[in-house]
């Protein structure tokens, strides 16, 4: 596909009611890894007017390009994964009851009693287990395994679902100033930020925007997207856990929080999949300091982002990640601060406007 491009808005992107409304549509949509169609459609509708070229590749990635008008441009790939963790129905046990497996990293202890939606029709259902009336004290000490849980659609829902359908949490986004609570903030925040970056694309770079699939099952979409774009610099914009709660042992300092809410965008130096390019880390930190944007260094920890796939593409791509800190990631309801979201978008935007080819020399 290609389209007539509208001039990009040269003003700094900001977060307002319009963005919160779009984030709500993105978070409430279902895009469990491997079937990202709902989110892909929203993305395509939103970005079409602002790109020189848009295509959907063989795996389902949305690859959009905004060509800068200035000379001496750097080709920068920014990836935001569209998919979310969720479930897949594995066995029809009759009466609308299905066994299921998890897709991506989900802690099964968090699942009992959660309302979920199933399939493209968003059929309402619940994850059930034996109620307290019938369990023994001994049973309640043990964590339930996924094999012991069922997704129950009720007999009327049975005809609307089949083995292989995806399911996700039924949570609807709530804006709770100064926070937002929703499912799938990992990584619809990255998706909306990338949409905003395309709308306000800087003219000093070629912005290669990849809305990727299948990140949660192993950075698969980004791998082929990076091969296609063959960029000079790679960046993943994502969401990362914040576990900034008090330590359980009151005498001990909490030393493993990953990130903290209200401390701004989280810049990565190392995770399980990538060692960030230090030139890019310096560039982001200098931008933040020059623009007065708060930032934090994500604690080097396991985990991975699309940067893990991008930096290994072809002959190698200097890469980094920036994430919005999110409490309770990969659960039915996660929580962010709107300020952290806004500052993440601001940081990446300003960093891009300052980017020159000299960064790679």
């Amino acid at each position: 596909m290609s389209s007539q491009k509208q001039p990009s808005m040269q003003l700094t992107p900001e977060i307002g009611a319009q963005q919160v409304e779009l984030l709500a549509r993105l978070c409430n949509a279902m895009a469990v890894s491997g079937d990202e169609q709902e989110v892909r459609q929203i993305v395509l509708d939103e970005i079409q007017p602002y790109c020189d070229q848009v295509e959907v590749d063989g795996l389902g990635n949305v690859l959009a390009m905004h060509v800068g008008s200035q000379a001496q441009k750097v080709r920068v790939m920014i990836a935001a994964h569209m998919d979310e963790v969720g479930f897949m129905l594995t066995n029809d046990e009759g009466e609308g009851v299905f066994s299921f497996e998890t897709v991506g990293g989900i802690d099964p202890r968090q699942l009992v009693g959660k309302a979920v939606i199933v399939g493209r029709e968003h059929v309402p259902a619940v994850i059930g287990a034996k109620p307290i009336h019938l369990t023994t004290a001994e049973e309640r000490k043990k964590a339930l395994k996924v094999e012991e849980l069922r997704i129950d659609l009720g007999p009327e829902g049975s005809s609307k679902a089949k083995v292989g359908d995806r399911a996700t949490f039924a949570t609807q986004l709530e804006a709770l100033e100064p926070s937002i609570r929703a499912k799938a903030l990992d990584n619809r925040l990255g998706v909306i930020n990338l949409i905003e970056l395309l709308r306000h694309a800087p003219e000093n770079i070629d912005l290669l925007a990849a809305f990727t699939v299948q990140e949660e099952v192993g950075l698969r979409g980004a791998r082929v997207a990076a091969y296609r774009f063959d960029p000079q610099i790679g960046m993943a914009i994502d969401a990362t856990p914040a576990h900034d709660l008090p330590a359980y042992d009151v005498d001990v300092e909490n030393t493993r929080y990953n990130t903290k809410l209200d401390h701004g965008p989280a810049i990565y130096l190392m995770d399980g999949a990538t060692i960030s390019d230090r030139r890019l880390a310096e560039w982001l930190m200098q931008t933040a300091e020059a623009e007065g944007i708060p930032y934090q260094i994500r604690q080097p920890n396991p985990g991975g982002t699309d940067a893990g796939a991008i930096h290994r593409a072809r002959a190698g791509v200097p890469s980094i990640s920036v994430s919005v800190p999110v409490r309770y990631a990969h659960s039915a309801a996660s929580l962010i601060r709107q300020e952290d979201w806004a500052n993440t978008l601001k940081l990446v935007y300003h960093a891009l406007t300052r980017l020159t080819p000299e960064i790679l020399s």
């Binding site: 130096l269 060692i275 080097p300 002959a315």
Partner: protein, 344 residues
């Protein structure tokens, strides 16, 4: 100068080179110092030298003759190390490993940060008979508060331990893989009149997943590839069984847990060693991987193998290799690259 005197002088120079290479810090992702040190040693010996997007140092020697191939030699220049994750209110730094670091070899160890700051590794109180985990360990750089601590989150350090020459055997904290780096440097300097276009790659980020050699192999696009790396031995008391031992020559890898060496490459290595009367041993490594895997899987696939230097106590501060094995590895690599190659 007599031949003996000349040999001693060359040996001393080689030992000085090993010392320089093993004592330069360079954990994965922080290869700038070791890269500069290697560059200093190879300048003038190569026809072309470049650093790629990932930081791999790539030196070309020779150009492809009608009967020659494009051959990639990969010796990773990174080493294991630590990265700081948190500095607490009393100035103690928590960390995570870069590559495979055992908590057992950390306690009491000394580290050096990339900016030269030194520190020691301490451990929390352990339950009786409990083994330490990395979460129980911390780095003490001799300050008493977070504010005064010269170390911050994301700073990287390597282990610090001086080179030790035991005569027959040589010991250092980073024989993995600086001994192979020296093998590659020596081969690059020695190689004359080869029909091949040889790319000596000093690769980055091997210890975190063979990352540098993967992108280097894409860039070089070789006809055949060889990793040069260390391999473990089975010649110490009550260790896991393995055929490889020190002092029996460089090892020709048949497989490890990351890849199966191309049998044509294995045959080529055996035939070359036999013809040149260089001792060698066959290696089957049950756990471990090398750049051979990433070269093999580059682009549409590359016949690849690995020349291994037997090494005791890998990933401890005292990795031990045999001087004879090291010298034979250089001879074998030069022989491999000097003649026409016909893969089965």
């Amino acid at each position: 100068m007599s031949i003996e005197a000349k040999k001693i002088e060359q040996d001393d120079a080689l030992l000085a080179l090993i010392k320089k290479m093993v004592e330069t810090p360079g954990p994965s992702g922080q290869e700038q110092l070791i890269r500069a040190a290697i560059l200093e040693e190879i300048q003038g010996s190569a026809d072309e030298i470049r650093t790629d997007a990932m930081g791999n140092l790539i030196a070309r020697k020779g150009s492809k003759q009608p009967n020659g191939l494009r051959i990639m030699i990969s010796a990773h220049m990174d080493e294991i190390g630590l990265m700081v994750t948190h500095v607490d209110e009393n100035g103690f730094s928590r960390f995570i490993p870069i590559g495979g670091v055992s908590p057992l070899t950390c306690i009491g160890g000394r580290v050096i940060f990339m900016n030269g700051q030194r520190g020691v590794i301490g451990c929390e109180r352990l339950e009786p008979n409990a083994l330490p985990t990395l979460e129980k360990l911390f780095i003490d750089v001799g300050t008493t508060s977070r504010e005064d601590c010269p170390v911050k989150v994301g700073d990287v350090c390597g282990f610090e331990r001086p080179f030790l020459d035991l005569g027959k055997h040589l010991v250092a904290k980073s024989m993995d893989n600086r001994i192979s780096v020296v093998v590659a440097i020596a081969a690059l300097r020695t190689l004359q009149a080869s029909p091949h276009e040889v790319y000596f790659v000093f690769s980055v980020q091997e210890e975190v997943g063979l990352r540098g050699s993967a992108t280097a192999a894409y860039g070089v696009d070789p006809d055949v590839g060889l990793a040069v790396d260390v391999t473990r031995t089975g010649d110490t008391p009550r260790t896991t069984k393995m055929e490889v031992a020190l002092d029996k020559g460089p090892a020709i890898k048949v497989r490890d847990s990351s890849f199966i060496a191309d049998p044509r490459v294995v045959d080529w290595m055996i035939a070359t060693a036999k013809a040149a009367d260089i001792p060698y041993q066959m290696e089957v490594l049950e756990a471990g991987g090398t750049d051979g895997r990433s070269i093999q899987l580059a682009r549409a696939g590359v016949p690849a193998g690995c020349l291994s230097i037997p090494c005791r106590y890998i990933h401890t501060p005292s990795e031990m290799v045999s001087r004879a094995d090291f010298e034979d590895a250089i001879r074998l690599l030069v022989e491999l690259l000097s003649r026409e190659v016909k893969l089965g």
